[in-house]
Amino acid sequence: MRLRFTPVMAVLGFLFLYGPIASLVIYSFNESKLVTVWGGWSLKWYGELFANQQIMDAAWLSLRIAAISASVAVVLGTMMAMVLVRFRRVRGKSLMTGMVTAPLVMPDVIIGLSLLLLFVAMQGLIGWPGGRGFSTILIAHITFGMAFVAVVVQSRLSDMDDAVEEAALDLGASPARVFFDITLPMITPALIAGWLLAFTLSLDDLVIASFVSGPGASTLPMVIFSKVRLGVSPDINALASLIVLVVSIGIITAALLMRKKP
């Protein structure tokens, strides 16, 4: 007898994947003060969350870092992808092709530690960055965000027919014009997908940020982690649900954009 993929299996699969998240979301609407005891529906913890200045500050910091690092990563990552795909003879190109994916597979602990050592050494040598905080987290997030963007844009660019750009050049457009008229519109979905990916990864990062952050610059995941160590309070559920919402929107949009054919 052949094995069949039944609806039951699908349900089990989804339950395994999304059950924990679903329970988190449901418990975020819990009335009770105890995290594990159901006390009826309520939006109380959401209200409490927004009243918590520490969490709000951390969230604002995280969003700023995520938005800025994603934007810079898109510019740098696209430049990198252009070099890797479009320029035929670049010295050290194969090394760069291999290395661009390194931040994707390197453990966060190692990236965090190495960046921390770099920042400390730089501060000793050139006096910059003066202390760790917002700017060091930003740099760290740009570094790995760029790698993700480069990979996403690279695959889009290599799917693209070079002749399309040549055709525009042939019709009298300058190389800069070709980039803005032809290349950019054609890779826009990949740019948006890359941006969203970099944004969500930055928002999500705890390990690297913990290494390169300094006093007074705690990102949202850092605040959550430190709060949870003292015991889970229901407002964390509310916060986590909101993050799930934001991240899902980002990921789904990115996936939809990547699926759209050039």
């Binding site: 027919d161 002749a163 399309v164 040549e166 055709a167 525009a168 050049l169 042939d170 019709l171 009298g172 457009a173 300058s174 190389p175 014009r177 008229d181 032809i182 519109p185 054609m186 050039p262």
Partner: protein
């Protein structure tokens, strides 16, 4: 007298006084150590439809891309309409190109694709749109202006690509396998369409193709390329009937080649000894006795019969294979020595008892039908 003037106009390459429109001088392109194009010199005249013909990797596309300015020659010069092209970027050249993949802009409508060149040139929008509409009607695509390229069939996309490359009224249009992606039936129709448009607009066309039939149908002249070099340039008839080398004879159409050596040469006849026997050929000046040569005989020049044939060259054999093609049949005749020859014969209407498999046959051809090749 009127006729001679016409001939000179239609065939400028036969007149020494005519000035070539495109002058290619000693062009080479090296990729690493490999010469993709090797010391090519070529003159192409105003209003010509010139085909660069060759197998894949023979350098024909690289030559075309150097004319367009996408590749920089390693050596040599290109002059178009008296203007030296060295150092002139692709976007500033008086040429336009039609790409094999069509390379249409997927995020623009058909209309915007076609108008792109004009808008980049700074032509006012209303004028550009009017000229685009004219061009679309020339390629019979009225009513498709607002469509996206992906919504069109392959043949329609091909016509959009053609319209786009013609809109700037280039002096020289370069076409890279313009019909390569079309199916056979559509290709044949489009060939004549292409000739019509070329004649209407009077643009000089350089077409790259690997399809010898296409080259024959389209071109005023053909340049046959092999391993980066031009091996022969000539009118289709000349290339077919008087190939310079074994390669050209073999590449253009189908041919039977005999390897042999010159036996004796009289002023009006020459004999070449081959493993299949002596072959009588028209004499070629400058050949010595025992010189190694090839003799090429086209399959349609060979007669086929059950009875003996009166011809300068005759052989006997057995029909090994028959391929019925409709208008003609292709026979593979196995000679006594084991060698097979290709022979084609026209099919008559309701032919009774046609020659078929395993029949013993006589074949023969005139001395004039044998072409002697030294290379």
């Amino acid at each position: 007298m009127g006729e001679t003037i016409l001939a000179a106009e239609a065939r400028p390459w036969r007149e020494a006084t005519q000035k070539p429109f495109v002058r290619i001088r000693g062009i080479s392109k090296l990729f690493g150590d490999l010469a993709a194009v090797d010391d090519v010199s070529l003159d192409i005249y105003q209003g010509e439809l010139f085909c660069l013909l060759g197998g894949s990797g023979c350098g024909k596309s690289t030559l075309l891309r150097m004319l367009a300015g996408f590749e920089t020659p390693s050596k040599g010069h290109i002059e178009i309409d008296g203007q030296e092209m060295t150092g002139i970027a692709a976007n500033l050249r008086p040429t336009n190109m039609m790409f094999q993949s069509y390379a249409l802009f997927p995020h623009m409508s058909v209309e915007k694709n076609v108008a792109y060149g004009l808008l980049r040139e700074g032509v006012p929008k209303t004028e550009a749109m009017a000229r685009t509409a004219d061009m679309l009607s020339l390629v019979k695509l009225e009513g498709f202006a607002r469509r996206r390229p992906q919504q069109l069939s392959g043949g329609q996309q091909q016509r959009v690509a053609l319209a786009r490359s013609l809109i700037k009224q280039p002096k020289l249009l370069l076409l890279d396998e313009p019909l390569g992606a079309l199916d056979k039936k559509l290709r044949e129709e489009t060939q004549f369409e292409l000739i019509r448009i070329q004649e209407d607009l009077g643009v000089t066309f350089i077409v790259v193709t690997h399809d010898q039939e296409e080259a024959m149908t389209l071109s005023t002249r053909i340049g046959v390329m092999d391993r980066g070099r031009i091996v022969q340039v000539g009118e289709p008839r000349q290339i077919y009937e008087a190939p310079d080398t074994k390669f050209v004879a073999d590449f253009i159409g189908s041919v039977n080649i005999f390897d042999g050596e010159v036996d004796a040469a009289a002023p009006d006849m020459m004999r070449v000894n081959t493993p299949e026997g002596a072959i009588l050929c028209p004499p070629l000046p400058g050949l010595k006795a025992h010189q190694k040569v090839h003799v090429a005989v086209r399959p349609e020049r060979i007669q086929l019969s059950r009875g003996p044939i009166k011809a300068a060259n005759t052989l006997q054999g057995i029909v090994d294979e028959v391929a019925y093609m409709g208008n003609l049949s292709v026979y593979r005749v196995r000679l006594e020595g084991g060698r097979c020859l290709k022979v084609t014969a026209a099919n008559g209407l309701h032919e009774e008892n046609p020659i078929t498999w395993d029949e013993a046959v006589h074949i023969g051809w005139s001395a004039a039908a044998s072409t002697v090749l030294t290379k």
